[in-house]
């Protein structure tokens, strides 16, 4: 996917005046937050589970090479195959090879952010293979030719009318005057259109929420059941997963699963949690004849051992997006690449470079809400700050910002001169602002005063008043 993160500010300006998007974001805010809180309050052990989940993933990351080899051995023993891929390109080629192997014409897909990361759909289309997104939200945005705006609710930026438009354009075999006002009618329509596609697909591609080293199994979590129809009906099931999805045992997965749905949608448990181990057994009546795990690195092993390692604990629950006031203001597309919100602000620079995505870790107030809800206790603000440090070290931050900062820091390190400067500033600003108590416009602060008044200072600094009082 082509990144537009360099145009973040322009994306933002567009997003904040788009009424449809703002309406959709308004609905998001209350829903996810209220439901998560209710689910968490019903599980008194939630905080302890967060500690354990963090420890489990840290243990895996410290022994990742061992767990990967062990996982591969178990997949092979179960009759499956692991494809090791360093890059997006290698992963696409591996998937193409599997598709060619079974003579695939159509491929059904469960929701996978990694597939977005490697831009799989465009690639398959170029190769003459039709990819069909089956998650309702993903299906809608595929019809509209746009990327997801949220990692678990890909069409959250849309309203019902957008869906009606998309279905009118795509489902031309249906009566154009059919009733579509009720959301259930839209769901029915998608279900009806997609069912034969499930049955006809040659390959099914899903992501993975977990890979289990104990047994070589993979786990996906969905609410619709599309991920299941995607994997049990076609000839081959391809699991596309990045390295860090490993956990040791089912007990470990259970611990993290207790956090996942509650953090994501506020459900006690998702509707479908599916464990897949190898291809169908000889006496099974259904299931895929082939089982492939496409194991993607794509820069993750480079994060290991750095100040960004904690990011590899992420389970893509979206709690950080759902609680982020910046995400709620601008929506997911403004971020300009695959992963939006706080997790995206940390992860994106590791994958496409800080030169490309410098805005993302900067566009945060460090309010800390993301970290406070992260089930894996990932210190997201701290890592965004680390990105800012790397930018600063490499002189990538804007010259005006650097100059302003240097000017201020020079004074802040020299208390006596600082007193003089602040004393002067306070008096000047106080003098001119006193009549109204505030400024409607200030040079150098037009960003602020475009939408806000700027309060005038009282007139004399605290320190100068204090000194006078002490002398008195």
């Amino acid at each position: 996917m082509q990144s537009t993160t360099r145009a973040f500010k322009a994306n933002v300006r567009k997003a904040i005046v788009e009424p449809g998007l703002q309406k959709a974001l308004g609905m998001m805010k209350t829903g996810f937050q209220v439901r998560r809180l209710a689910a968490v309050e019903k599980l008194p052990e939630f905080e302890q589970l967060r500690d354990q989940a963090r420890d489990i993933k840290n243990h895996v990351l410290e022994n990742l090479d061992f767990y990967l080899e062990r996982f591969e051995r178990k997949v092979t023993e179960a009759g499956g195959k692991v494809h090791w891929c360093r890059s997006a390109e290698e992963a696409r080629e591996a998937i193409l090879g599997i598709c060619r192997g079974v003579g695939a014409k159509t491929v059904t897909k469960g929701k996978s952010m990694i597939a977005e990361e490697i831009a799989l759909n465009d690639f398959l289309e170029e190769e003459g293979i039709e990819p069909i997104e089956t998650d309702l939200g993903e299906y809608i945005i595929q019809l509209r030719g746009e990327p997801p705006s949220h990692i678990i609710a890909p069409a959250i930026h849309l309203n019902k009318t957008d869906v009606i438009d998309a279905f009118q354009k795509a489902h031309t075999h249906l009566d154009p005057n059919r009733p579509m006002e009720e959301p259930t009618a839209l769901l029915e329509e998608a279900r009806g259109v997609l069912r034969p596609k499930f049955l006809a697909a040659d390959v099914g591609i899903t992501g993975a929420n977990f890979m289990i080293a104990e047994t070589g199994s993979t786990i996906i979590v969905t609410n619709e059941g599309n991920g299941d129809l995607t994997q049990i009906l076609p000839k081959a099931h391809v699991v596309l997963a990045s390295l860090e999805k490993l956990v040791p045992t089912f007990e470990d997965a259970a611990t993290i699963l207790r956090l996942l749905a509650r953090s994501a949608t506020g459900q006690e448990f998702s509707v479908y949690t599916t464990v897949s181990t190898g291809p169908r057994r000889p006496d099974d009546l259904d299931g895929p004849a082939e089982f492939h795990v496409v194991l993607l690195d794509n820069g993750r092993s480079d994060i290991l051992g750095t100040e960004f390692q904690d990011m590899l604990r992420c389970i893509r629950c979206s709690a950080c997006l759902n609680h982020c006031p910046v995400y709620a203001t601008v929506g997911g597309h403004a971020y300009g690449w695959v992963y939006p919100g706080p997790m995206g602000a940390v992860l994106t620079p590791t994958l496409i470079g800080i030169e490309e995505s410098g805005h993302l870790p900067n566009a945060s107030t460090f309010c800390g809400r993301c970290e406070s809800v992260c089930p894996m206790r990932i210190p997201l603000p701290k890592m965004m700050r680390h990105w800012r440090e790397r930018e600063f070290e490499r002189h990538l931050s804007p010259p005006s910002v650097r100059a302003g900062l240097a000017f201020w820091a020079w004074f802040a390190k020299r208390p006596r001169l600082y007193r003089l400067a602040t004393g002067l500033a306070a008096r000047l600003l106080g003098l001119f602002g006193r009549a109204h108590g505030r400024y409607g416009w200030l040079p150098l602060a037009s960003g602020w005063t475009r939408g806000r008044e700027f309060p005038a200072p009282e007139g004399q600094t605290f320190m100068s008043q204090w000194r006078k009082r002490s002398r008195a």
């Binding site: 090479d65 309702l136 609410n223 619709e224 059941g225 259970a254 448990f269 479908y272 299931g287």
Partner: protein, 224 residues
């Protein structure tokens, strides 16, 4: 691909500033994998058998499944027939070729039309058993095999699960223990955990039932 494999592993080891794990550390991890220990299990999942069954029923209904209780396997055909009638569904279903289901005296309800096997999608209703049920979240656990094609869990619009109370456990961990006891190291191809009927919230965050999987999930709990 082998080059990719060794490069990825090499890159991980460089990042971790070490070579392959020393044998004693590797052995410790192998031991952890061979004998998995549960982490913290929420108190809610504990309790004696009767409480666990009550919890299962409450949680399953909370997830929009429906549930009827019967005293014995003999009452199952009647309960299924009544449920189908109550939903205005035809008295016909595809049934998992499961010896436990075969043992139910279906013939006492001759109006029920039953086909054994998998489904290609034409069946409106399926009836299956379950390997276990997890009270903690009202979740059914179903394993694929010759006695339970996975398609039955997803393609029909209505899924009826016959569940003897002895299969209800408290937490997920107990279900895993049972599964390992039955299958050893070689798991069934698919293990489905199902908590209520299929749903989607992808249109304006409204909860809509029956996205791709079943619209209705009904449990017939045999308490005898």
């Amino acid at each position: 691909m082998n080059e990719a494999r060794s490069q990825i592993l090499g890159s991980i080891r460089r990042a971790l500033k070490r070579g392959p794990l020393p044998p004693e550390k590797a052995a410790a991890i192998e031991a952890r994998l061979r004998d998995p220990k549960p982490n913290l299990i929420p108190a809610r999942a504990g309790g004696e058998a009767k409480a666990v069954i009550e919890l299962f029923s409450t949680m399953a209904e909370g997830a929009a499944a429906t549930l009827t209780r019967v005293k014995s396997a003999r009452e199952v055909p009647g309960a299924v027939a009544e449920y189908l009638a109550s939903q205005n569904l035809p008295a016909a279903f595809v049934m998992a070729p499961d010896p436990e289901l075969d043992a139910i005296p279906w013939s006492e309800r001759p109006t029920l039309s039953i086909r054994r096997g998998k489904t290609e999608g034409a069946d409106q209703v399926s009836v299956t058993g379950a390997f276990a049920a997890i009270a903690e979240t009202g979740t059914l656990m179903m394993t694929s095999g010759p006695d339970h094609p996975s398609t039955l869990n997803f393609l029909p619009e209505t899924h009826v699960v016959v569940l003897p109370a002895s299969k209800v456990v408290g937490p997920y961990e107990e279900a895993w223990t049972r599964l390992r006891a039955k299958h050893g190291g070689s798991l069934p191809r698919t293990v489905n955990f199902v908590t209520g009927p299929s749903r989607s919230g992808d249109i304006e965050q409204r909860l809509l039932m029956g996205a791709h999987g079943p619209r209705r999930l009904h449990v017939v709990l045999i308490e005898g």
